[in-house]
């Protein structure tokens, strides 16, 4: 076995919670001659964003890093990119490293596309003559040729992202550290980027890739790591790790169409408590499996404990790979102002909308910008099966997060008579 491209040993990072102190507070505590360290720990706790993480990665392998928000993915990337220093532990990376935690870092809106290519390239670690060498290809890849001498502040967001990614794509490092930079741009450009990433992997480069896009992780990565609360929960085969991640994601949700709580441990806070969530059929009975030809009624029973000026429910229907199929809210259909009491809200997911497969329902309530009353959580999992009159049942697996039955029209523009067709064929 050759030497690993990345060797991480006991990497840990501690953050102090709460506000950093201002000069005034610092001076005040100096005057009072209190022990500042002690004052710090009294004022705010500490938090291990990453704890004792060890792994090694062979050259040419692509590692996916998955985990929930706050699991430590970004911290791991920041440490490997040297943006921040570890509290303890070490990592060694062999070869030229490039990290992409964002595309277009350092782009200046006043500067032209051309000037920004050189600026951004230099920030990412390219030498000016390397950029000159790649210049034509960067411009071609980004498809911004005509606007090269226009300030990027006049670019459309799509053009901006394309240019930014094009520069990054020409870094040619041996070790590439990438955050979810692909979650931008239009779909066709995303595919192009994913293709480029695949090239990178096939080019023998070592890649660490963080993403919430399980399909991308599955496609690109040879192995994966699941992070949970700053620790590695699982490291191994990509499919196994993704399954572990999804299982964890759906943990605590019900498979039989109904879940309920008593008030003390009901989800929510001091304003709203969720009492029961059900996925029911038209007859009103909870089910874990629905036919695509019937409506699915999602019913939330909840208690409002304080008068609320504004609140809304949001339901996200999540596919089996963790991507969001759709999201819906009752915001526009709700009367403003809710008095304390017990309520029941129902959302109808119409028939012939979803695809066949497994979905989960992630539900939250809140008022954006004010407070989240019930934090988002996956409560219900259900399965959908193909019905006989749904458009999706021909294929083994119909593609798409949803498979709505849409209206089609056909008009005859010109029609040849049967004789002509036969003559031409002969």
């Amino acid at each position: 076995m050759s030497q690993p491209a990345i060797q991480v040993e006991g990497l840990s990072k501690k953050y102090r919670l709460g506000q950093t102190r201002t000069l005034r507070q610092r001076l005040a505590s100096m005057l009072r001659a209190t022990n500042t360290e002690q004052a710090d720990s009294l004022q705010s706790g500490t938090f291990w964003a990453l704890r004792d993480v060890s792994f090694s990665l062979q050259p040419g392998r692509v590692l996916g890093v998955v985990g929930h928000n706050g699991a430590g993915k970004s911290t791991l990337l920041k440490l490997l990119s040297r943006i921040t220093d570890p509290t303890s532990g070490s990592a060694a990376i062999r070869g030229r490293v490039a990290s992409l935690l964002e595309v277009g870092t350092g782009f200046h809106p006043e500067l032209t596309g051309r000037e920004n290519i050189f600026l951004n390239g230099a920030i990412l670690g390219l030498k000016q003559n390397e950029i000159k060498r790649h210049f034509e290809r960067i411009v071609d890849f980004a498809e911004v040729g005509r606007f090269l001498d226009t300030p990027v502040k006049r670019y459309s967001s799509g053009m901006y992202v394309r240019l930014a990614f094009a520069i990054a794509a020409h870094l040619e490092p041996e070790v590439l550290i990438v955050d979810e930079v692909l979650a931008v741009g239009d779909a066709s450009f995303q595919r192009k980027c994913l293709g480029k990433m695949g090239d990178v992997a096939r080019g023998g480069r070592t890649v660490v890739f963080v993403s919430h896009n399980m399909a991308a992780v599955r496609n690109l990565c040879h192995e994966a790591i699941l992070l949970n609360s700053g620790c590695i929960e699982r490291h191994g085969n990509t499919d196994e790790v993704i399954d572990a991640y999804l299982n964890r994601m759906f943990a605590g949700s019900s498979d039989d169409g109904e879940i309920g709580w008593d008030l003390p441990d009901a989800p929510g806070g001091e304003e709203v408590r969720l009492l029961r969530v059900r996925a029911i059929d038209e007859a009103g009975s909870p089910r874990g499996v629905f036919d695509l030809s019937e409506d699915i009624r999602v019913e939330m029973t909840y208690r409002v404990l304080k008068p609320l000026e504004d609140m809304r429910w949001v339901i996200k229907v999540i596919c089996d790979d963790g991507s969001i199929a759709l999201a819906t809210t009752d915001h526009t259909q709700r009367e403003p102002g809710t008095k304390p009491g017990v309520y029941c809200s129902t959302c109808i997911i119409p028939r012939k909308l979803l695809n066949a497969g497994r979905y989960s329902l992630r539900i939250n309530a809140g008022c954006p910008g004010i407070k989240e009353y019930v934090p988002g959580q996956s409560f219900i999992r259900f399965q959908t099966t193909r019905s006989t009159d749904h458009g999706s049942y021909y294929a083994e697996k119909w593609p798409g997060a949803v498979a709505p039955s849409l209206e089609w029209e056909q008009q005859t523009v010109e029609q040849a008579n049967a004789d002509e067709t036969i003559r031409e064929a002969a």
């Binding site: 990497l11 220093d85 990376i93 350092g106 041996e174």
Partner: protein, 292 residues
């Protein structure tokens, strides 16, 4: 591009040294945290960022680079009217033209003041880059001083013009201008780097710096000469990293005797500030991305 086998390309190219590079990531201590090797390797970035500042500054301005001349010249005229004429300083500085006297002091002072302002804001101003990409952080305050230095060079030409106009004779002492420029740069970097790291931790310094520079201007012999200060207090004055240097700079320009002692004390004080600044910067360097 990436379909060609990368290793051959890398080993064949000038990046041979980097191809076998091992990056070690671990908690950093001491001045090594400043990453001098990386600093040298990424030196191009300092120029590119300075070029950005230069381009952005003169985008959509009418007079462009002429501002580098207008600013010190206009300051000189205003100070000459108020201090030279109204308050009669012009007679007190001896038989030298007061405009040249003023300008010779303003030239290094403007560099100091502009560069310190720019580098103290350099980390906070580039926070969006700091939190996304690694490069030795010291590049930012260093890069921020480049544009003021360019302005300084342009303003130097005006000094030559003024000297011709007022028929100030040239002397061999003028070779001292080179070490004097070095002294000035040491003072600029020392104060700039120290303030850059302080501004990250305490945004108070964003308000402190302009105000502090205003007071500092009056505590530096620009509108008056060092010999205006009672001899008993001159040593105190010289602790100011710019005082002795500016006084010597002016003496050289005007062909007057140079106060070497004052220059030496000020330069030592500037060098000391630079060492403290670097140490403080190194201590905070790896935390900038978390704090900024």
């Amino acid at each position: 591009m990436s379909s060609t086998p990368i290793p051959t390309q890398l080993f064949a190219g000038p990046d041979k040294a980097e191809a076998s590079l091992v990056t070690v990531i671990k908690p950093q201590r001491g001045l090594w945290a400043l990453d001098p090797v990386g600093l040298w390797r990424r030196r191009e970035l300092a120029w590119v960022l300075a070029l950005r500042d230069l381009r952005v500054r003169y985008k959509q301005t009418l007079l462009g680079i002429a501002w580098a001349v207008i600013q010190p010249l206009a300051t000189m005229v205003v100070l000459h009217i108020f201090f030279g004429r109204v308050m009669g300083m012009a007679e007190k500085v001896g038989d030298v033209p007061y405009p040249v006297f003023l300008y010779a002091g303003l030239l290094p002072w403007t560099l100091f003041s502009n560069a310190v302002t720019a580098s103290s804001n350099s980390l906070v101003g580039n926070a969006h880059i700091l939190s996304k990409v690694y490069f030795p952080r010291l590049l930012l305050p260093l890069s921020a001083t480049i544009v003021p230095v360019i302005d300084y060079c342009i303003a130097f030409i005006v000094l030559a013009g003024l000297m011709l106009w007022f028929q100030v004779p040239l002397s061999w002492d003028m070779v001292l201008l080179a070490p004097l420029v070095v002294s000035t740069i040491i003072a600029v970097l020392g104060v700039g780097i120290l303030l850059a790291s302080l501004t990250v931790s305490y945004r108070d310094f964003r308000y402190v710096v302009p105000f502090m520079l205003q007071l500092w201007f009056f505590m530096t012999p620009v509108i008056y000469g060092l010999d205006f200060v009672p001899e008993r207090y001159q040593w105190l004055m010289n602790l100011n990293p710019m005082a002795g240097t500016i006084d010597a700079f002016r003496a050289v320009v005007l062909g007057q005797p140079v106060n070497y002692a004052a220059w030496l004390v000020s330069t030592t004080s500037a060098a000391l500030t630079l060492v403290i600044g670097l140490m403080w910067f190194a201590k905070l360097e790896r935390k900038f991305a978390d704090v900024v």
